[in-house]
């Protein structure tokens, strides 16, 4: 590796771009959370802790907690489905084909994937019409517009992101270790929890981060299928920005969201490093 001017020549465009269009906007968000609310949106350039005071009330704290809890729930369910699925694919003869089958929904437009569930579970959706036809129900059941719908559809959209990194790690796992554990008298369960899981920890953490981080910043799914009681932090930010027009408050919640994301990513990468030592 060399020290010369060429390094700077190659990197100044990207550095400039990311500084102007990424770092500075983040800085502005942080600064705006300490400013006074403008009359018609925007801000007045006066120091103020109004936004923080509004934020620290039960309603917003509840939304933050709910965002974290639902995101953790989605991550947990996604992993429970993704680990055995990835395991099955690795052990299967038709690995390649199955991986393609996972990648196809991954390439399909995000909104279309959400829409497909709305068409199935909606008020006049496939399931309701089917149930009416066979005479089980007379009036439609409301499947959508609750937290359950948000969880279901979020798991659906995150699964490929969890399966692919898990697949990559499980493929490198030496399955002879399981046989060795069994020979030494371990039960199936012991072999799974004490040999298999610790060895694929890296993949689990990566899959977890890929699911959890986008979930924290979720906006579309709660907006489309969440109803009034399943509001995420993202929805509050959007509402403060475009409807209530309290920009300092939108900036404050955004800052909290950025901070939360950073904390969870740091915790995740520390867990990953611990995994390294384990081996």
């Amino acid at each position: 590796m060399k020290t010369d001017k060429r390094g700077v020549a190659y990197t100044w465009p990207i550095t400039l771009w990311l500084t102007i269009f990424f770092l500075i906007p983040m800085g502005i968000v942080l600064v705006y959370s300490f400013l006074k609310k403008g009359l018609y949106g925007g801000v007045e350039f006066k120091l103020s802790f109004d936004a923080f005071n509004i934020f620290l009330n039960a309603m917003f704290i509840k939304i933050v907690l709910k965002t974290i809890l639902v995101s953790l729930g989605v991550t947990f369910i996604t992993l429970i489905i993704a680990v055995p699925t990835a395991y099955f694919i690795v052990r299967s003869k038709y690995k390649k084909l199955y991986i393609y089958l996972i990648i196809i929904p991954f390439w399909t437009n995000f909104l279309i994937r959400i829409y497909s569930w709305m068409a199935i579970l909606g008020h006049n959706g496939f399931v309701n019409i089917f149930l009416k036809k066979i005479g089980l129900i007379d009036t439609s059941i409301q499947f959508l517009y609750n937290t359950g719908a948000v969880v279901l559809i979020s798991v659906y959209t995150s699964l490929p992101f969890a399966i692919l990194p898990l697949y990559a790690v499980i493929e490198k796992f030496d399955f002879a270790l399981i046989d060795a554990a069994r020979d030494l008298g371990a039960t199936n369960g012991q072999a799974f929890f004490r040999i298999f899981l610790p060895n694929i920890k890296q993949g689990i953490v990566t899959a977890g981060i890929f699911t959890f981080v986008p979930m924290l910043g979720s906006y579309v799914i709660p907006k489309l299928v969440g109803g009034v009681n399943s509001i995420f932090m993202g929805n509050v930010i959007a509402r403060q920005l475009t409807e209530t027009r309290n920009w300092p408050l939108a900036a404050t919640i955004s800052s909290v969201l950025i901070l939360l994301t950073m904390i969870f990513v740091l915790v995740g990468s520390m867990a990953k490093k611990r995994g390294d030592n384990y081996e």
Partner: protein, 257 residues
Amino acid sequence: MNKRKTSLFFFVLSMLFFYLPLVVIVIYSFNKGKSMVWQGFSLKWYKELFLYSDELWRAFRYSIVIAIISSTISTTLGTLGVIGIHWYKFKYKKYLEVLGYLPLIVPDIIMGVSLLILFVTVKLNLGLMSIIIVHTTFNIPFVLFIVLSRLSDLDYSIVEASYDLGATEIQTLKKVIIPMLLPAIVSGFLIAITLSFDDFVATFFVAGPGITTLPLRIYSMIRLGISPVINALSVIFIAFAVALTLSTTKLQKYFIK
């Protein structure tokens, strides 16, 4: 061993979970009726989609233009950046190494909101340009990742040989480095195009009233519930995803060999 059965169960569950909604949409795109009640086979929604959906197609054209421009910028910045980061030492290298990947962990909505606030503060009109800026920014880390993985396999002595033989920096870049990196540059570009084409949230905040991209248009249509034109459009998207999956694996085979 019942582990096999358990994992088979979850695998089948995942597959059903993945494909059931898609299959239902594909079937109902051929429905004569407007709702999810089956009223016979018809291609009328495809006709509606292709002939009478001007707004959708205008949005589609905007999306294409935005995807191509933003991916070109992010691929260029990213590729040059990776060459600099990987082969040379310079003052702010550590800073750039962190900065380059940060957009990856920041939620999409924050990207949109923070740039909206920046654009409003500096009084930039929202529109094509603001969307292109957002897309370029969130695409950069992906290009960095992909090009870096290829670059770390390359031998720097090839580049040195080029200088020794009297090539200038630009000549080396054009005739040696870029041709060697081409597969990674192409896949970085393709990923960037896909992500740009798919993005809703960040775009939603910075689009302004004048410009509608395809995801924005789809969103305004599905908000109101089931739309048979969207069913037909979904089939096109799914078919495209299948084609893309097959062709990228072909491409990979061609390049990696």
